[in-house]
Symmetry: C2
Protein backbone atom coordinates (compact mmCIF):
# COMPACT_ATOMS: atom_id res chain seq x y z
CA UNK A 1 0.00 0.00 0.00
CA UNK A 2 1.18 3.49 -0.84
CA UNK A 3 0.38 6.09 1.82
CA UNK A 4 -0.89 9.47 0.74
CA UNK A 5 0.26 12.44 2.80
CA UNK A 6 -1.71 15.64 2.41
CA UNK A 7 0.04 18.73 3.71
CA UNK A 8 1.02 22.25 2.64
CA UNK A 9 3.67 21.87 -0.04
CA UNK A 10 5.92 24.81 0.82
CA UNK A 11 6.71 24.27 4.50
CA UNK A 12 7.95 21.65 6.94
CA UNK A 13 5.25 22.57 9.45
CA UNK A 14 3.45 19.85 11.34
CA UNK A 15 3.64 17.60 8.30
CA UNK A 16 7.38 17.23 8.85
CA UNK A 17 6.85 15.07 11.93
CA UNK A 18 4.88 12.67 9.73
CA UNK A 19 7.42 12.84 6.90
CA UNK A 20 10.26 11.93 9.28
CA UNK A 21 8.39 8.87 10.56
CA UNK A 22 7.53 7.74 7.03
CA UNK A 23 11.14 8.19 5.93
CA UNK A 24 12.62 6.36 8.93
CA UNK A 25 10.14 3.52 8.36
CA UNK A 26 11.15 3.31 4.71
CA UNK A 27 7.46 3.56 3.90
CA UNK A 28 6.17 4.07 0.39
CA UNK A 29 4.30 7.39 0.36
CA UNK A 30 3.27 10.19 -1.92
CA UNK A 31 3.53 13.74 -0.62
CA UNK A 32 0.55 14.62 -2.78
CA UNK A 33 0.53 18.42 -2.66
CA UNK A 34 4.21 18.44 -3.70
CA UNK A 35 3.53 16.57 -6.94
CA UNK A 36 3.24 18.55 -10.19
CA UNK A 37 -0.19 20.17 -10.66
CA UNK A 38 -1.07 17.60 -13.32
CA UNK A 39 -0.66 14.84 -10.73
CA UNK A 40 -2.73 16.49 -8.03
CA UNK A 41 -0.13 18.82 -6.53
CA UNK A 42 -0.46 22.39 -5.38
CA UNK A 43 -2.23 24.26 -2.61
CA UNK A 44 -5.52 24.63 -4.44
CA UNK A 45 -5.77 20.88 -5.10
CA UNK A 46 -4.87 20.26 -1.44
CA UNK A 47 -7.65 22.52 -0.17
CA UNK A 48 -10.13 20.79 -2.47
CA UNK A 49 -8.97 17.31 -1.43
CA UNK A 50 -9.22 18.15 2.29
CA UNK A 51 -12.87 19.07 1.79
CA UNK A 52 -13.62 15.70 0.20
CA UNK A 53 -12.01 13.41 2.76
CA UNK A 54 -14.21 11.31 5.03
CA UNK A 55 -14.15 11.52 7.99
CA UNK A 56 -13.40 15.21 7.60
CA UNK A 57 -10.13 16.58 8.99
CA UNK A 58 -10.03 19.95 10.75
CA UNK A 59 -6.66 20.75 9.20
CA UNK A 60 -3.70 19.05 7.54
CA UNK A 61 -1.59 16.96 7.88
CA UNK A 62 -3.79 14.05 6.83
CA UNK A 63 -2.54 10.55 6.11
CA UNK A 64 -4.61 8.32 3.87
CA UNK A 65 -3.77 4.67 4.51
CA UNK A 66 -6.03 2.54 2.35
CA UNK A 67 -9.47 2.92 3.91
CA UNK A 68 -8.19 4.97 6.83
CA UNK A 69 -8.20 8.77 6.74
CA UNK A 70 -6.20 10.00 9.74
CA UNK A 71 -5.61 13.59 10.85
CA UNK A 72 -3.92 15.29 13.79
CA UNK A 73 -0.14 14.85 13.81
CA UNK A 74 0.10 12.91 17.07
CA UNK A 75 -2.73 10.65 15.93
CA UNK A 76 -1.03 9.89 12.61
CA UNK A 77 2.17 9.08 14.49
CA UNK A 78 0.29 6.82 16.90
CA UNK A 79 -0.89 4.87 13.86
CA UNK A 80 2.49 4.81 12.10
CA UNK A 81 4.32 3.96 15.30
CA UNK A 82 2.26 0.82 15.78
CA UNK A 83 2.36 -0.11 12.10
CA UNK A 84 6.11 0.33 11.58
CA UNK A 85 7.69 -0.54 14.92
CA UNK A 86 8.36 3.09 15.80
CA UNK A 87 6.76 2.69 19.24
CA UNK A 88 6.84 -0.04 21.86
CA UNK A 89 4.15 -2.69 21.35
CA UNK A 90 2.96 -2.76 24.95
CA UNK A 91 0.47 -0.30 26.45
CA UNK A 92 2.75 1.51 28.91
CA UNK A 93 5.37 2.22 26.25
CA UNK A 94 2.84 3.30 23.65
CA UNK A 95 1.20 5.71 26.07
CA UNK A 96 4.55 7.15 27.13
CA UNK A 97 5.66 7.80 23.56
CA UNK A 98 2.28 9.39 22.78
CA UNK A 99 2.63 11.52 25.92
CA UNK A 100 6.03 12.82 24.85
CA UNK A 101 4.73 13.48 21.33
CA UNK A 102 1.83 15.51 22.71
CA UNK A 103 4.27 17.54 24.79
CA UNK A 104 6.34 18.22 21.66
CA UNK A 105 3.10 19.30 19.98
CA UNK A 106 2.44 21.76 22.81
CA UNK A 107 5.92 23.23 22.37
CA UNK A 108 5.41 23.48 18.61
CA UNK A 109 2.13 25.33 19.12
CA UNK A 110 3.79 27.78 21.51
CA UNK A 111 6.74 28.30 19.16
CA UNK A 112 4.29 29.16 16.38
CA UNK A 113 2.36 31.59 18.51
CA UNK A 114 5.55 33.49 19.34
CA UNK A 115 5.34 35.06 15.87
CA UNK A 116 1.53 34.93 15.71
CA UNK A 117 0.27 35.79 19.22
CA UNK A 118 -2.88 37.59 18.04
CA UNK A 119 -4.07 35.60 15.03
CA UNK A 120 -2.78 33.13 12.47
CA UNK A 121 -5.00 35.06 10.05
CA UNK A 122 -2.83 38.17 10.28
CA UNK A 123 0.70 38.67 8.96
CA UNK A 124 3.55 38.66 11.45
CA UNK A 125 4.16 42.28 10.48
CA UNK A 126 0.72 43.16 11.87
CA UNK A 127 1.44 41.78 15.34
CA UNK A 128 5.12 42.57 15.95
CA UNK A 129 4.65 44.36 19.28
CA UNK A 130 2.75 41.47 20.87
CA UNK A 131 5.18 39.02 19.25
CA UNK A 132 8.16 40.76 20.84
CA UNK A 133 6.50 40.50 24.25
CA UNK A 134 5.52 36.89 23.79
CA UNK A 135 9.00 36.03 22.49
CA UNK A 136 10.58 37.40 25.66
CA UNK A 137 8.39 35.20 27.86
CA UNK A 138 8.92 32.23 25.57
CA UNK A 139 12.71 32.51 25.73
CA UNK A 140 12.84 33.24 29.44
CA UNK A 141 10.17 30.89 30.79
CA UNK A 142 8.71 28.37 28.39
CA UNK A 143 11.72 27.37 26.33
CA UNK A 144 13.93 26.61 29.37
CA UNK A 145 11.03 24.69 30.92
CA UNK A 146 10.51 22.49 27.85
CA UNK A 147 14.23 21.93 27.30
CA UNK A 148 14.73 21.05 30.95
CA UNK A 149 11.84 18.61 30.77
CA UNK A 150 13.13 16.87 27.66
CA UNK A 151 16.60 16.68 29.20
CA UNK A 152 15.11 15.04 32.28
CA UNK A 153 13.04 12.50 30.38
CA UNK A 154 15.82 11.50 28.01
CA UNK A 155 17.84 10.32 30.95
CA UNK A 156 21.37 9.02 30.76
CA UNK A 157 20.67 6.64 27.88
CA UNK A 158 19.57 9.45 25.66
CA UNK A 159 16.32 8.24 24.04
CA UNK A 160 12.63 8.50 24.78
CA UNK A 161 12.27 4.75 25.34
CA UNK A 162 13.69 4.83 28.83
CA UNK A 163 15.90 1.89 29.66
CA UNK A 164 16.09 0.63 26.08
CA UNK A 165 17.37 3.60 24.18
CA UNK A 166 18.52 1.43 21.28
CA UNK A 167 14.85 1.13 20.33
CA UNK A 168 14.03 4.22 18.32
CA UNK A 169 10.53 5.66 18.56
CA UNK A 170 8.77 8.39 16.64
CA UNK A 171 9.01 10.81 19.55
CA UNK A 172 12.82 10.66 19.16
CA UNK A 173 12.39 11.84 15.57
CA UNK A 174 10.05 14.58 16.73
CA UNK A 175 12.52 15.79 19.36
CA UNK A 176 15.16 16.01 16.61
CA UNK A 177 12.80 18.11 14.50
CA UNK A 178 11.85 20.36 17.42
CA UNK A 179 15.50 20.90 18.37
CA UNK A 180 16.51 21.83 14.82
CA UNK A 181 13.48 24.08 14.45
CA UNK A 182 14.28 25.91 17.66
CA UNK A 183 17.92 26.29 16.61
CA UNK A 184 16.75 27.79 13.30
CA UNK A 185 14.27 30.17 14.90
CA UNK A 186 16.18 31.16 18.02
CA UNK A 187 19.90 30.64 17.30
CA UNK A 188 21.09 32.96 20.07
CA UNK A 189 18.73 31.65 22.73
CA UNK A 190 19.44 28.05 21.76
CA UNK A 191 23.19 28.60 21.82
CA UNK A 192 22.78 29.69 25.42
CA UNK A 193 20.04 27.30 26.56
CA UNK A 194 21.38 24.36 24.57
CA UNK A 195 24.30 24.11 26.98
CA UNK A 196 21.79 22.91 29.56
CA UNK A 197 20.29 20.40 27.10
CA UNK A 198 23.22 18.21 25.99
CA UNK A 199 21.17 15.01 25.86
CA UNK A 200 18.56 16.54 23.58
CA UNK A 201 21.19 17.92 21.21
CA UNK A 202 23.10 14.62 21.23
CA UNK A 203 19.87 12.81 20.37
CA UNK A 204 19.29 15.23 17.49
CA UNK A 205 22.80 14.56 16.20
CA UNK A 206 22.27 10.79 16.39
CA UNK A 207 18.93 11.00 14.57
CA UNK A 208 20.53 13.11 11.85
CA UNK A 209 23.12 10.40 11.22
CA UNK A 210 20.64 7.54 10.84
CA UNK A 211 21.01 6.34 7.24
CA UNK A 212 17.41 6.86 6.12
CA UNK A 213 17.10 10.23 7.86
CA UNK A 214 20.46 11.39 6.49
CA UNK A 215 19.39 10.38 2.98
CA UNK A 216 16.08 12.19 3.42
CA UNK A 217 17.67 15.38 4.73
CA UNK A 218 20.04 15.43 1.76
CA UNK A 219 17.22 14.85 -0.74
CA UNK A 220 14.92 17.38 -2.43
CA UNK A 221 12.08 15.83 -0.43
CA UNK A 222 13.26 17.79 2.62
CA UNK A 223 11.94 21.34 2.47
CA UNK A 224 14.31 23.85 4.05
CA UNK A 225 13.24 25.80 7.12
CA UNK A 226 11.72 29.06 5.90
CA UNK A 227 9.73 32.10 6.95
CA UNK A 228 6.33 30.60 6.15
CA UNK A 229 6.64 27.65 8.52
CA UNK A 230 6.10 27.13 12.23
CA UNK A 231 9.70 27.80 13.17
CA UNK A 232 10.67 31.21 11.77
CA UNK A 233 13.80 33.21 12.29
CA UNK A 234 12.99 36.81 13.10
CA UNK A 235 16.20 38.20 14.67
CA UNK A 236 14.16 40.66 16.74
CA UNK A 237 12.41 37.73 18.49
CA UNK A 238 15.67 35.99 19.41
CA UNK A 239 18.14 36.94 22.11
CA UNK B 1 -8.04 -0.56 41.50
CA UNK B 2 -8.60 3.03 42.56
CA UNK B 3 -7.34 5.61 40.07
CA UNK B 4 -5.49 8.66 41.34
CA UNK B 5 -6.12 11.89 39.45
CA UNK B 6 -3.63 14.68 40.04
CA UNK B 7 -4.82 18.10 38.94
CA UNK B 8 -5.17 21.66 40.22
CA UNK B 9 -7.86 21.57 42.88
CA UNK B 10 -9.57 24.90 42.19
CA UNK B 11 -10.42 24.73 38.50
CA UNK B 12 -12.08 22.51 35.94
CA UNK B 13 -9.26 23.10 33.46
CA UNK B 14 -7.94 20.23 31.39
CA UNK B 15 -8.53 17.88 34.30
CA UNK B 16 -12.27 18.19 33.75
CA UNK B 17 -12.10 16.15 30.55
CA UNK B 18 -10.60 13.33 32.59
CA UNK B 19 -13.07 13.76 35.45
CA UNK B 20 -16.01 13.49 33.03
CA UNK B 21 -14.70 10.24 31.55
CA UNK B 22 -14.07 8.78 35.01
CA UNK B 23 -17.55 9.78 36.15
CA UNK B 24 -19.31 8.41 33.06
CA UNK B 25 -17.36 5.17 33.44
CA UNK B 26 -18.41 4.92 37.09
CA UNK B 27 -14.72 4.46 37.88
CA UNK B 28 -13.39 4.53 41.40
CA UNK B 29 -10.99 7.47 41.64
CA UNK B 30 -9.49 9.92 44.06
CA UNK B 31 -9.13 13.53 42.97
CA UNK B 32 -6.05 13.75 45.16
CA UNK B 33 -5.38 17.49 45.27
CA UNK B 34 -9.00 18.09 46.33
CA UNK B 35 -8.67 15.94 49.45
CA UNK B 36 -8.06 17.64 52.79
CA UNK B 37 -4.40 18.60 53.36
CA UNK B 38 -4.00 15.75 55.83
CA UNK B 39 -4.87 13.27 53.09
CA UNK B 40 -2.53 14.70 50.46
CA UNK B 41 -4.69 17.54 49.15
CA UNK B 42 -3.74 21.06 48.21
CA UNK B 43 -1.65 22.76 45.55
CA UNK B 44 1.63 22.44 47.38
CA UNK B 45 1.23 18.68 47.80
CA UNK B 46 0.26 18.44 44.12
CA UNK B 47 3.40 20.26 42.98
CA UNK B 48 5.53 17.99 45.17
CA UNK B 49 3.80 14.84 43.92
CA UNK B 50 4.20 15.84 40.27
CA UNK B 51 7.95 16.07 40.79
CA UNK B 52 8.10 12.56 42.18
CA UNK B 53 6.13 10.71 39.50
CA UNK B 54 7.95 8.41 37.10
CA UNK B 55 7.94 8.79 34.15
CA UNK B 56 7.84 12.54 34.76
CA UNK B 57 4.86 14.53 33.47
CA UNK B 58 5.36 17.98 31.93
CA UNK B 59 2.17 19.26 33.53
CA UNK B 60 -1.05 18.00 35.11
CA UNK B 61 -3.47 16.33 34.66
CA UNK B 62 -1.83 13.02 35.52
CA UNK B 63 -3.67 9.75 36.04
CA UNK B 64 -2.02 7.05 38.13
CA UNK B 65 -3.48 3.66 37.28
CA UNK B 66 -1.64 1.04 39.26
CA UNK B 67 1.83 0.91 37.74
CA UNK B 68 0.93 3.33 34.96
CA UNK B 69 1.59 7.05 35.27
CA UNK B 70 -0.15 8.79 32.37
CA UNK B 71 -0.10 12.49 31.48
CA UNK B 72 -1.46 14.64 28.65
CA UNK B 73 -5.25 14.85 28.62
CA UNK B 74 -5.81 13.17 25.25
CA UNK B 75 -3.41 10.39 26.23
CA UNK B 76 -5.23 9.75 29.51
CA UNK B 77 -8.52 9.61 27.61
CA UNK B 78 -7.05 7.21 25.06
CA UNK B 79 -6.24 4.91 27.98
CA UNK B 80 -9.58 5.33 29.75
CA UNK B 81 -11.51 4.99 26.50
CA UNK B 82 -10.02 1.58 25.83
CA UNK B 83 -10.30 0.47 29.47
CA UNK B 84 -13.91 1.52 30.02
CA UNK B 85 -15.61 1.13 26.65
CA UNK B 86 -15.64 4.87 25.99
CA UNK B 87 -14.12 4.40 22.53
CA UNK B 88 -14.65 1.88 19.74
CA UNK B 89 -12.47 -1.21 20.09
CA UNK B 90 -11.28 -1.27 16.48
CA UNK B 91 -8.40 0.81 15.11
CA UNK B 92 -10.32 3.13 12.78
CA UNK B 93 -12.80 4.12 15.48
CA UNK B 94 -10.13 4.58 18.14
CA UNK B 95 -8.09 6.82 15.85
CA UNK B 96 -11.14 8.87 14.89
CA UNK B 97 -12.13 9.50 18.51
CA UNK B 98 -8.54 10.43 19.36
CA UNK B 99 -8.49 12.77 16.35
CA UNK B 100 -11.63 14.58 17.53
CA UNK B 101 -10.25 14.79 21.07
CA UNK B 102 -7.03 16.37 19.79
CA UNK B 103 -9.08 18.92 17.85
CA UNK B 104 -11.02 19.75 21.02
CA UNK B 105 -7.64 20.15 22.74
CA UNK B 106 -6.56 22.63 20.07
CA UNK B 107 -9.72 24.64 20.61
CA UNK B 108 -9.20 24.57 24.38
CA UNK B 109 -5.65 25.87 23.96
CA UNK B 110 -6.86 28.70 21.73
CA UNK B 111 -9.68 29.57 24.13
CA UNK B 112 -7.13 29.83 26.93
CA UNK B 113 -4.79 32.02 24.94
CA UNK B 114 -7.61 34.48 24.24
CA UNK B 115 -7.15 35.78 27.79
CA UNK B 116 -3.42 34.98 27.93
CA UNK B 117 -2.02 35.83 24.47
CA UNK B 118 1.39 36.98 25.74
CA UNK B 119 2.20 34.65 28.61
CA UNK B 120 0.50 32.28 31.03
CA UNK B 121 3.00 33.64 33.54
CA UNK B 122 1.40 37.09 33.52
CA UNK B 123 -1.98 38.12 34.88
CA UNK B 124 -4.78 38.76 32.42
CA UNK B 125 -4.77 42.36 33.60
CA UNK B 126 -1.23 42.71 32.26
CA UNK B 127 -2.17 41.69 28.71
CA UNK B 128 -5.65 43.13 28.17
CA UNK B 129 -4.86 45.01 24.94
CA UNK B 130 -3.46 41.94 23.17
CA UNK B 131 -6.30 39.87 24.66
CA UNK B 132 -8.92 42.18 23.19
CA UNK B 133 -7.32 41.85 19.76
CA UNK B 134 -6.97 38.09 20.00
CA UNK B 135 -10.56 37.77 21.26
CA UNK B 136 -11.86 39.58 18.19
CA UNK B 137 -10.07 37.18 15.84
CA UNK B 138 -11.12 34.20 17.95
CA UNK B 139 -14.81 35.16 17.85
CA UNK B 140 -14.79 36.11 14.17
CA UNK B 141 -12.55 33.41 12.68
CA UNK B 142 -11.56 30.55 14.91
CA UNK B 143 -14.72 29.95 16.93
CA UNK B 144 -17.00 29.77 13.85
CA UNK B 145 -14.47 27.47 12.18
CA UNK B 146 -14.35 25.04 15.12
CA UNK B 147 -18.12 25.10 15.65
CA UNK B 148 -18.74 24.53 11.95
CA UNK B 149 -16.32 21.62 11.98
CA UNK B 150 -17.90 19.94 14.99
CA UNK B 151 -21.34 20.46 13.46
CA UNK B 152 -20.16 18.76 10.29
CA UNK B 153 -18.56 15.78 12.01
CA UNK B 154 -21.48 15.16 14.35
CA UNK B 155 -23.69 14.50 11.36
CA UNK B 156 -27.38 13.87 11.53
CA UNK B 157 -27.13 11.23 14.24
CA UNK B 158 -25.54 13.66 16.62
CA UNK B 159 -22.56 11.79 18.11
CA UNK B 160 -18.85 11.47 17.38
CA UNK B 161 -19.17 7.76 16.59
CA UNK B 162 -20.56 8.30 13.13
CA UNK B 163 -23.26 5.85 12.14
CA UNK B 164 -23.65 4.41 15.63
CA UNK B 165 -24.40 7.44 17.72
CA UNK B 166 -25.92 5.33 20.48
CA UNK B 167 -22.36 4.33 21.39
CA UNK B 168 -21.03 7.12 23.57
CA UNK B 169 -17.32 7.94 23.40
CA UNK B 170 -15.13 10.19 25.48
CA UNK B 171 -14.94 12.80 22.71
CA UNK B 172 -18.71 13.28 23.10
CA UNK B 173 -18.11 14.16 26.76
CA UNK B 174 -15.32 16.52 25.76
CA UNK B 175 -17.53 18.28 23.23
CA UNK B 176 -20.10 18.79 25.98
CA UNK B 177 -17.44 20.33 28.20
CA UNK B 178 -16.08 22.54 25.41
CA UNK B 179 -19.59 23.76 24.51
CA UNK B 180 -20.43 24.63 28.12
CA UNK B 181 -17.07 26.32 28.61
CA UNK B 182 -17.53 28.44 25.52
CA UNK B 183 -21.05 29.38 26.61
CA UNK B 184 -19.68 30.45 29.99
CA UNK B 185 -16.80 32.46 28.52
CA UNK B 186 -18.50 33.96 25.48
CA UNK B 187 -22.26 34.04 26.17
CA UNK B 188 -23.00 36.69 23.57
CA UNK B 189 -20.91 35.16 20.81
CA UNK B 190 -22.23 31.68 21.58
CA UNK B 191 -25.82 32.87 21.57
CA UNK B 192 -25.22 34.10 18.03
CA UNK B 193 -22.92 31.34 16.74
CA UNK B 194 -24.75 28.56 18.55
CA UNK B 195 -27.67 28.95 16.16
CA UNK B 196 -25.38 27.49 13.51
CA UNK B 197 -24.36 24.62 15.78
CA UNK B 198 -27.61 22.90 16.79
CA UNK B 199 -26.14 19.39 16.73
CA UNK B 200 -23.34 20.32 19.09
CA UNK B 201 -25.70 21.99 21.54
CA UNK B 202 -28.15 19.08 21.34
CA UNK B 203 -25.28 16.69 22.06
CA UNK B 204 -24.30 18.80 25.08
CA UNK B 205 -27.89 18.66 26.36
CA UNK B 206 -28.01 14.88 25.94
CA UNK B 207 -24.71 14.40 27.74
CA UNK B 208 -25.93 16.59 30.59
CA UNK B 209 -28.94 14.32 31.09
CA UNK B 210 -26.99 11.07 31.27
CA UNK B 211 -27.58 9.74 34.79
CA UNK B 212 -23.95 9.57 35.93
CA UNK B 213 -23.06 12.92 34.38
CA UNK B 214 -26.18 14.56 35.83
CA UNK B 215 -25.31 13.17 39.28
CA UNK B 216 -21.74 14.40 38.93
CA UNK B 217 -22.75 17.89 37.83
CA UNK B 218 -25.09 18.17 40.82
CA UNK B 219 -22.42 16.97 43.25
CA UNK B 220 -19.73 18.94 45.08
CA UNK B 221 -17.19 17.05 42.97
CA UNK B 222 -18.00 19.37 40.05
CA UNK B 223 -16.09 22.63 40.40
CA UNK B 224 -17.99 25.61 38.99
CA UNK B 225 -16.58 27.53 36.03
CA UNK B 226 -14.54 30.38 37.44
CA UNK B 227 -12.04 33.09 36.55
CA UNK B 228 -8.96 30.99 37.24
CA UNK B 229 -9.75 28.28 34.70
CA UNK B 230 -9.28 27.89 30.96
CA UNK B 231 -12.73 29.24 30.08
CA UNK B 232 -13.09 32.70 31.69
CA UNK B 233 -15.83 35.21 31.31
CA UNK B 234 -14.40 38.67 30.72
CA UNK B 235 -17.30 40.68 29.24
CA UNK B 236 -14.86 42.87 27.31
CA UNK B 237 -13.65 39.80 25.38
CA UNK B 238 -17.14 38.71 24.36
CA UNK B 239 -19.38 40.22 21.76
Amino acid sequence: MVYELHYWPGIQGRGEFVRLALEEAGADYRDVARLPPGQGGGERALAKRLGELDPPPFAPPVLVAGELVIAQTANILLFLGARHGLAPPEEAGRLWVNQVQLTVADLVGEAHDVHHPISAGLYYEDQTAAAAERALHFRQERLPKYLGYFEQLLGVGGGVNRGREDELCYADLSLFQAARGLQYAFPIAMERLGREAPRLLALADRIERRPRIAAYLASPRRIAFNQQGIFRHYPELDG
